[in-house]
Symmetry: C2
């Protein structure tokens, strides 16, 4: 029979997938002798069984839970449901991958109208007992019964207002009792039944609620954003309560062994006296820095420092810990590898190598490739920043710079971002409901909450600039105003945030791109030592090429020539060309485009120097260039003296039902060879001129797109070769050049052996290959894919991460057949997948020579390529 | 070194691919001792080398040709280029597959101004010598120099007119000399040079012209129509001349060992006294039936009958022979397996089995599957035919019935057919230039030419009705009038032709579909005994289903449910459904569609009885049903009270860039499960009602389209199963049903093992699979594919014949993986390829269980499936 429940002393940190991260680490801490309140974990398998059983807890699971509750009673000496010495428990979710703020927690479970009296008597602390009970009803009502949290807040805040106090701690026992009475009325109204008094019912409902919460919207969104499969399930941790809210000798806190924002090697965190766990994270009061605990609880502090150090050495990684102090006694409630900014991740990794804690390969593996995106994104322009004066300063919660228009709720921020505005989300404090708005915003500003508040943790995870706990600002979310001193900002006004200093500025400060240096440079150097895969870039102009080279690109894997045609000066000629009736007219228009293209290629070659440059011949359906507006039509009509009717007829002719599968790619070069001739001439002449002018040796790689049949490639290759022959004869210079092809049509992959006979290189165009292998048009199926991910039909978006099961089969087949036919064939990938870390790992594993990605993803790909090697060695 | 030239005694009938059909059979006849004028064959490899060398004859080929000319001189005792006893030769093309009328022939080569005199003296027949010379200049001028034939005709006809004679034989030597003089002036004018006098030059130019003609437009068109690869090349046969134009003891003819129109076992053919080969085929004079040769040349006739019999027994097939009689001596110029109508093919095959000449398997293999299409196409309605009186009768040149508007040239007929009219092509006589018009026309009527004329031969090959040699009609091609007695018909007037009787009717006679019986029925029975593959049909309604069952369909492989929605009564509801905002509205609209669908399925089940019926769930992009016109919009707006603006907005929302890759297929069922629910209910309820009403046991096969990921199938299957459960519970009846899927997305093929876990059957949707594997939209790439075929990039249209190299790899992979995962999985194909004989063979070879095709292709598929087995056994 499957074992669905593990006591903490039965588990270990290696049982994450079964016990979830939290459960595994609670077990580990228990086993290495740390002070952990005892408890047990209901496994992720139980969660999956719950879903298989249509949302029901089977008898065997229920039985096992209560069997283990007995054990908990035995160890604690308390009795679950007792009115005298009640065993109270917390019920917490714990997924395999940490999902902060996504899943739900219930504390103080086991209390009821009678037990609260027993607890008061036993602890001799009435206020504590009723505070615990009101918290329990509130959390249970919110999480299990799904009564809107705001309804509880309204009662609670109403009481504070009536009493004229600011903080919860200022309420007395009577206030709390009245609040409890109101809460119970609310529950009755909302649910049509009383608040459950039987602790066993409470526990079963709570466990089911945790399981249910695995599939709440926030959890699904978080998983989607973080590519976490939807079928892992969550574990549930049931643990004896310890209380941080038992007065001034009690408290609760969270801490990191190093600074999660910048990586400084020092204990970092916050605590609140007389509070329960959620208070710190939710930011209801602004907490004290951890260092101040030294004075408040000197012995506890010393013990905590030791434990923190021990945990970091044990896990060989920076730890994020939760603890509670109950009447001067320390309890560890959680430890996990801490989330951190990219800056911190890089510094911590390099420091830990210096400290001898980890080796270079481990260090390189410690950086989340997607995260270093943060380091590559804009900072404030120095000059503008120096000229600006901050209007206030909050906590530097997540580094980076952001400037944009302010919006006061998630929906407005999302809408503004969709309309193309840069949005800054301004909130009193954020909660998981704000997630979509945080994703859409450039940066986040909150009035309340510390550096471990929801806003701060989530923003850091996203690599998004965040200033939290800016106490000097007043946020009126209803009136949509932000008041800083005398300044009143309204929705749509500009603001600028510096997440690294916490400074807030009115107006818009210019941002500039960052550079690779310091610890980051060190990590990238180590990555380059380790990786086997080359990293090239997709670039269509010298500016992008230069940026990519700065980021370490080793060549251009994809230079799209069609982007060059959209320039105002040029587009009339391409329009002229596609509107032509005869080859002669087309040639005339092409002759006008030749100098532009040649100049483009020269510019790119000059930047890339001796690095390889792969240039793709014209690819998109011609009708993309068709003039769409009356005005554009008229311009072409006037400039080239073509009657409007003729243009309109031609535009109609060029229209296609499925342009993605139409007259594009090499089909253009086959049917209009003169286009390929012009492009070949431009590609070669640019190289010849640089040879003559600067004695540069360029070896252009000419790439034929959308080949599905070897004969297409043969045909276009003949055009290229004939053109090259003519150019070389005319110029009296012969250059080396290569001709290769995209593998982006399934048939090309399936006949890669034939194609490799003609192609010196393959570049996998995984965008189109994915479209055709799935039969999914990227332009049309965004919504469907979203729905598919919600329904767990797709674990990942196949346009972001290469589908290894299906599309990968074609890629691997083509690699095998291509190498068999031409052992020295160059193999690369130039779809957008080239910058996706998982795909980079895959490309490294199947033996490609390079990946090519957008300039800003080059460092990510370099890192991912190194991690691929490390991971492969560990297998 | 490659041998490029073979003397006739060096070859055999098994060397077709090297020597071409004509060359191989000339060699064979030479070797079995028949009277064949000696000669040699320049190989197809020489032709391919000619093209490789950019259209030049290499020195080694030239040298080898003249070496063999020496041998010809030695054997004939004549000298090439001699002015006294000149060796004259014919130069004829000879491709691997017979291409009648497509390639070009030159006779009497070796003549010049001096040699003609020698020939006259030697033969003591001046008229003959000059007739031969004028023919030579005319053919050489036309074929080699590409001077329009009409210019020669004009001179020749002008002379006849001036002399007041009707036939060429009525011209005397002087007339012919004058014609020759005029011809030479014409050549000088057109070419700017004299007619070549050196026989060696003549020979080289002629050989090159034959090679060149391999790629003339007519040859390309013919190959395209007949799926003959463009890279085979043609051989050239150079043969000592014998002369049928040496007076009344000479003649020329063509004959078949059996009647090529109806298969009667009797010598059948035509001959012309005092004529050269081309005269019979071109129909310049109406020839005499072969039987009349018995009187004209009694001894020669006896010898010819013996040879014909010998050849048929030697080749074990009906022979098509050309012969010449020179001064009472018989020479065989060609034999080949004769083309025949489907009716003749069937009768000959069955007769030859009865005669013990061939076995059943050979008989079945003798019928061209595509050809039997003819037997399945309309004949005249008996009642209407009996009521009609023919206005004239021509030769029954190619059977079948045709009715349509008359057009007088190929271009007009093609244009009319493109506009959707039925066209009948009426010509004095046809020539290869008319090919496109013949393809477009329903039938062909000519005033001149026999049953072996160009019109007759080509029409029979196409399975097209043809009445030739209708001497009583007058055709004025310029005035575009057809006069029959007093009746004058103009372009666009209706006419009806009976190709089986030769009768011509004015007006339009109704046509009816044919049935399978007699010899055809016998052949189909034999085919059914032999084949392993089942043949199902694609049918969406009882009428098609009934037709298919009559043609031997063993089930329905594809019932498309969307076609059922386009009915006037129904389309408003489907429009209502797709315009809905909510599931509820959709369900309401679907509830209205349910009774229609149920009735459809009941009707089909009743026809199919116990044969399996596979029903595909809704497949096409929803926006196909979107109202397009203002009027349609308004109708929906009024009927369902939806504001126009809302409809317009919705229509816009539904528009897709690439609908082929958009929201369609199972994606509809995943996102709108209520559609699949309604369809499942209709499918099952129809079966349940038939069980209750007629105790019929139907096992519906529900097919989920466009699956790319196993989870899509799982999702839709759950919807189907849940619906089935509900229906069965409600009705108190449980039925067997199957759930399977189309394999039409490349990814489905690549993950067939996973999909087979869920699918009880696979049906390969090779239309979509081809589109996506090639990245070719069928709607957009027609022109490109045509150009690809012209350029030999594609040997075949992949939408007609399955691409075994690429798409086939996916099919084979899916078959292998599908069977591994589910050994008893049913495998079929339901794309349009299912009726293509080559594809049927392929499907049989890779072990599919069935093919499914349109009703009219069912007999073709049955035959092709049998041939596949025979062919596989021969390997």
């Amino acid at each position: 029979m499957t074992k669905f429940v593990y006591l903490f002393n039965e588990g270990s940190k290696d049982m994450r997938s079964l016990l979830g991260g939290k459960g595994a680490n609670l077990a580990e801490m228990t086993n290495i002798g740390l002070p952990v309140p005892f408890g047990f974990t209901v496994t992720t398998e139980a969660c999956n069984k719950y879903y298989e059983d249509g949302g029901a807890l089977s008898d065997d699971i229920v039985e096992e839970i209560f069997k283990n509750m007995k054990e908990l009673e035995r160890i604690s000496g308390k009795t679950f449901g007792s009115t005298e010495d009640p065993l109270l428990v917390s019920v917490r979710s714990g997924a395999v991958f940490s999902m902060p703020g996504m899943m739900d927690t219930i504390l103080n479970l086991g209390l009821n109208d009678d037990a609260v009296k027993g607890l008061a008597k036993l602890t001799d602390n009435e206020r504590f007992a009723y505070d615990s009970y009101r918290r329990f009803i509130q959390m249970f009502g919110d999480v299990v019964m799904e009564i809107p949290k705001t309804k509880f807040d309204k009662i609670f805040d109403g009481k504070k207002e009536a009493k004229g106090v600011q903080y919860d701690v200022e309420l007395d026992t009577k206030d709390l009792q009245e609040i409890i009475a109101d809460y119970k009325v609310l529950v009755k109204e909302e649910m049509g039944r009383e608040f459950p008094q039987d602790p066993k019912d409470q526990l079963m409902e709570a466990v089911k609620a945790v399981f249910r919460s695995w599939n709440n919207d926030r959890a699904i969104l978080y998983r989607k954003l973080n590519d976490i499969p939807g079928d892992l399930g969550t574990a549930v941790n049931v643990q004896s309560m310890v209380f941080g809210n038992m007065g001034d000798t009690s408290g609760t806190g969270v801490a990191f062994t190093r600074d999660a924002a910048d990586g400084t090697n020092a204990l970092f965190g916050e605590f609140l006296v007389n509070a329960q766990g959620e208070d710190v994270v939710a930011g209801v009061r602004t907490p004290q820095p951890i260092a101040e605990m030294k004075e408040a609880f000197p012995e506890v502090y010393q013990q905590f420092v030791k434990i923190a150090d021990l945990l970091e050495k044990h896990y060989k990684d920076m730890q994020d810990m939760e603890f509670t102090v109950e009447r001067n006694k320390l309890y560890m409630l959680q430890t996990r590898n801490g989330k951190r900014t990219a800056t911190a991740a890089v510094k911590i990794a390099v420091d830990m190598v210096d400290e001898g804690l980890i080796d270079k390969k481990t260090a390189v593996s410690r950086i989340e490739p997607a995260q270093i995106d943060q380091l590559l994104h804009p900072m404030f322009d120095k000059a503008e920043l120096e000229a600006a004066t901050p209007v206030t300063t909050g906590l530097p919660a997540s580094p980076g710079a952001a400037a944009g228009k302010i919006y006061f709720n998630a929906a407005d921020a999302s809408a503004a971002a969709e309309d193309g505005s840069k949005a800054v989300l301004v909130r009193l404090e954020t909660s998981p409901e704000d997630l979509a708005g945080m994703v859409a915003a450039e940066g986040i500003l909150t009035a309340r909450g510390g550096k471990t508040s929801h806003a701060a943790v989530v923003a850091r995870g996203m690599g998004k600039c965040c200033v939290s706990g800016a106490q000097a600002i007043k946020v009126d979310e209803d009136a949509k105003t932000l008041t800083i001193g005398d300044t009143v900002l309204k929705e749509g006004d500009y603001i600028s945030l510096d997440g690294s200093t916490g400074n807030v500025y009115t107006g818009e400060i210019k941002t500039v791109p960052p550079t690779l240096s310091g610890d980051f440079g060190t990590i990238m150097e180590w990555a380059d030592e380790i990786r086997k895969l080359d990293v090239r870039t997709n670039a269509d102009n010298p500016r992008d090429a230069r940026q990519a080279v700065e980021f370490g690109a080793q060549g251009i894997g994809l230079c799209r020539t069609e982007h060059m045609f959209f320039d105002e000066e040029r587009i009339p000629y391409i329009r002229r060309m596609i509107m032509s009736d005869s080859e002669e007219e087309r040639r005339e228009a092409l002759a006008n485009l030749l100098p532009f293209q040649k100049a483009d290629f020269k510019g790119i070659y000059e930047v890339m120097e001796d690095r390889p440059v792969t240039i793709r011949l014209l690819d998109p359906p011609l009708h993309e260039f068709v003039p769409h507006t009356e005005e554009e039509m008229k311009q072409v009509s006037d400039q080239f003296n073509i009657p409007m009717e003729k243009l309109e007829k031609k535009a109609e002719e060029l229209a296609e039902f499925n342009p993605m599968l139409g007259h594009r790619g090499c089909r253009l070069a086959v049917t209009y060879p003169e286009i390929a001739e012009m492009q070949t001439e431009a590609i070669l002449m640019a190289a010849i001129e640089l040879k003559k002018e600067k004695n540069m040796d360029i070896t252009p790689e000419i790439m034929v797109p959308l080949v599905g049949h070897v004969n297409e490639l043969k045909d276009v290759k003949a055009t290229i070769e004939n053109t090259a022959k003519k150019v070389f004869e005319k110029e009296g210079i012969t250059l080396d050049y290569k001709v290769g092809t995209m593998i982006e049509i399934p048939r090309a992959a399936l006949t890669a052996d034939q194609i490799a006979e003609e192609a010196e290189f393959f570049s996998f165009g995984t965008n189109d290959l994915t479209q055709m292998t799935f039969g999914f048009s990227r332009d049309d199926t965004g919504k469907i894919i979203e729905e598919y991910r919600d329904k767990n039909i797709f674990a990942e978006d196949p346009f972001q991460t290469l589908d290894q099961t299906g599309v990968g089969k074609l890629v691997e087949y083509a690699v095998e057949k291509g190498k068999a036919a031409r052992p020295n064939i160059k193999l690369g990938i130039c779809g957008e997948h080239g910058g996706d870390p998982k795909t980079v790992e895959y490309c490294s594993n199947i033996g490609l020579n390079y990946v090519s990605c957008s300039p800003f993803r080059v460092p990510i790909a370099r890192l991912a390529a190194a991690q691929a090697v490390v991971k492969a060695e560990q297998k």
